[in-house]
């Protein structure tokens, strides 16, 4: 029987890394990710986790060290946030293009300036095209579960891509809450040994990440793209198997009270639980409101998404990130694009909020629905609207 414990979101992540019997952790501490790597360093120092902990001088080096350890076939984990993720940026592309199944938790944080250590999704949205599988967790349980799932999916020889598990900085990383801690026996049943097919080894030299002149670069990228699209099957299988072993169900798109909803709110990450309270309130007022949550951000689950929203009139998207001078928040832009060719589709309203740790309350979500309906009906002279801005 899995044990119910109270645990901080960050520790829920490190406990999963420990249960996965990770071989290498290379990380640089940065708020609000710090508790994850602090606790892992402690586990390694105490002998609770038989891993190599590589302290590095920057996030660029952290991810570079992860490339090396993953390439020899070691199970590799790192974590970062905000500026740290941006400093890793170029190496993220190397990890995915070299097909290295690194798992990384990102305690999502705003980007400077002004300097902010607080949460939003600016960091992950700036790396959305880096070729990593990307998921969002809503609470500590999901953070715990998805880290384990990430190892299984990333290391599967049908996948071999790095996986990023997004947990909201502070709102998830720093909250102590109940969760069912996985049992080692169940973890061992679920997660096979990492068998990286062509590891670096002095006895069997291979070249990885070679030069790609114009005659081959396009083909290399096509191969990567096809392989990335093909990860979906293993991603879903990973969740099916997870349910069989642990009894908890995950899906690319998840919903709350969405079946008959005329208006849908769309969120990602820890604000989804808060939004569900607003949905309850509005349902009590007789408003047909529901909630759509994107769990799987990359590869984007087009089919599931279109099916989920097709009967709604209005889809109000909350982005926790700005795309300056762009067509809307990154999520709103993508879902609008995903729906453009569809015969039945809701109007998409792009709202931006919850930036840099600004609290988002259930009342704020109720406002978003009302404002979204107003914009959908009367139109607006801008592509997107920032909410909760003090005048």
């Amino acid at each position: 029987m899995a044990k119910k414990v109270g645990m901080e979101g960050s520790l829920a992540v490190s406990e999963a890394v420990k249960l996965a019997n990770t071989d290498v952790v290379a990380a640089y501490p940065i708020t609000p990710q710090t508790h994850i790597v602090e606790s892992l360093a402690e586990m390694v120092a105490n002998g609770d986790l038989d891993a190599e902990y590589i302290p590095v001088e920057s996030e660029h080096s952290a991810m570079s060290a992860c490339l090396g350890s993953s390439a020899v076939g070691a199970r590799t984990f790192t974590a970062t946030a905000g500026q740290g993720l941006e400093l890793m940026h170029e190496v993220l592309y190397v990890a995915s293009s070299m097909r290295l199944p690194i798992v990384m938790a990102v305690a999502n944080r705003a980007l400077s300036s002004p300097l902010s250590v607080w949460g939003d999704h600016s960091d992950v949205m700036a790396v959305r095209d880096c070729g990593w599988i990307q998921v969002f967790a809503e609470n500590a349980q999901e953070a715990h579960d998805l880290v384990l799932w990430a190892f299984r999916v990333g290391e599967d020889t049908n996948v071999l891509f790095p996986v990023m598990v997004n947990i909201d900085g502070f709102n998830l990383s720093h909250v102590t809450e109940p969760l069912l801690l996985m049992e080692q026996a169940d973890v061992d049943k679920y997660l096979p040994v990492n068998k990286y097919p062509l590891p670096l080894h002095p006895d069997k030299p291979v070249t990885m990440g070679a030069f790609g002149p114009p005659f081959i670069y396009t083909e290399a990228k096509k191969a990567q793209e096809v392989a990335f699209q093909n990860t979906k099957e293993t991603i879903l299988k990973g969740w099916d198997e997870f349910e069989k072993v642990f009894g908890r169900r995950y899906s690319p798109i998840e919903t709350y009270q969405a079946d008959d909803a005329e208006t849908l709110l769309l969120t990602m990450g820890s604000l989804s639980e808060t939004a569900s309270l607003a949905v309850d309130n509005m349902r009590e007022q007789g408003k047909k409101v529901g909630l759509v949550k994107i769990r799987l951000w990359r590869p984007f689950p087009f089919e599931e998404f279109r099916k989920t929203v097709k009967n709604a009139n209005v889809l109000v998207v909350l982005d926790r990130c700005l795309s300056f001078g762009g067509p809307g928040g990154p999520v709103a832009s993508e879902v609008r694009s995903a729906l453009y060719d569809q015969a039945n589709r809701p109007k998409v309203v792009s709202l931006i909020g919850g930036l840099g740790g600004r609290d988002v309350t259930p009342q704020n979500f109720e406002y978003m629905v009302d404002r979204g309906l107003e914009i959908a009906e009367k139109g607006s002279d801008s592509e997107y609207e920032m909410i909760g801005v003090r005048k």
């Binding site: 708020t31 250590v117 949460g119 502070f170 709102n171 720093h174 639980e273 808060t274």
Partner: protein, 185 residues
């Protein structure tokens, strides 16, 4: 039990965050739902900080800060000068203060629109723990006015966190539970 919301006020380093976490852990051990978190940001020793605690019998979905608490706990009476500690405190809510002052004095100054409770936690902590650290003492005070968990439910989490010095903290907590003076009781 509907969800009870408690906001702690202290200064960085005084242990408000630890207290909320320990009570949350105790509640979760008793199959309740609970959530605790600090006022987010860089940790600054000595600066006013808040810590938040929700306990209830149903899953807690809200993750925003507590702006309309049922109970406010004040670790340090000098905070009244710089922080609006009673901000949003519910009308039938209660303000629990570590102070040397009498209930009447406190009521006259800070008791408008809600109940107050006082305990000389500094004295208890000095005598029982030998240190001027009041966070574990104030847990006893809080549990008297808001029975989120039984006093004995705290022993496990306190022992786990404090090891050898847990016993002194448990004594201080129990004393505050006894010595607290609650308006109308």
């Amino acid at each position: 039990m509907p969800i009870t919301e408690v906001r702690w006020h202290g200064r960085g380093g005084q242990g408000a965050v630890t207290s909320t976490e320990l009570i949350a852990l105790a509640a979760i051990n008793k199959e309740k739902y609970a959530q605790s978190f600090p006022s987010f940001g860089p940790e600054r020793r000595g600066a006013p900080v808040q810590a938040f605690l929700r306990v209830g019998d149903e899953p807690i979905r809200v993750r925003s800060e507590i702006t309309e608490p049922d109970v406010v706990v004040v670790l340090n009476p000098d905070l009244f000068e710089s922080v609006d500690v009673t901000s949003g405190l519910k009308e039938n809510g209660i303000l629990v203060i570590n102070t040397r002052k009498s209930l009447e004095e406190v009521k006259a100054t800070y008791g408008k629109g809600h109940r107050v409770a006082i305990v000389n936690a500094m004295k208890i902590a000095r005598e029982s723990i030998g240190l001027p650290i009041t966070n574990t003492t104030m847990m006893g005070a809080l549990l008297k006015v808001a029975p989120l968990v039984e006093l004995d439910d705290m022993i496990g989490p306190l022992e786990h966190r404090f090891g050898k010095v847990a016993e002194k903290n448990i004594t201080a907590m129990k004393r505050a539970y006894q010595e607290i003076v609650v308006e109308g009781q």
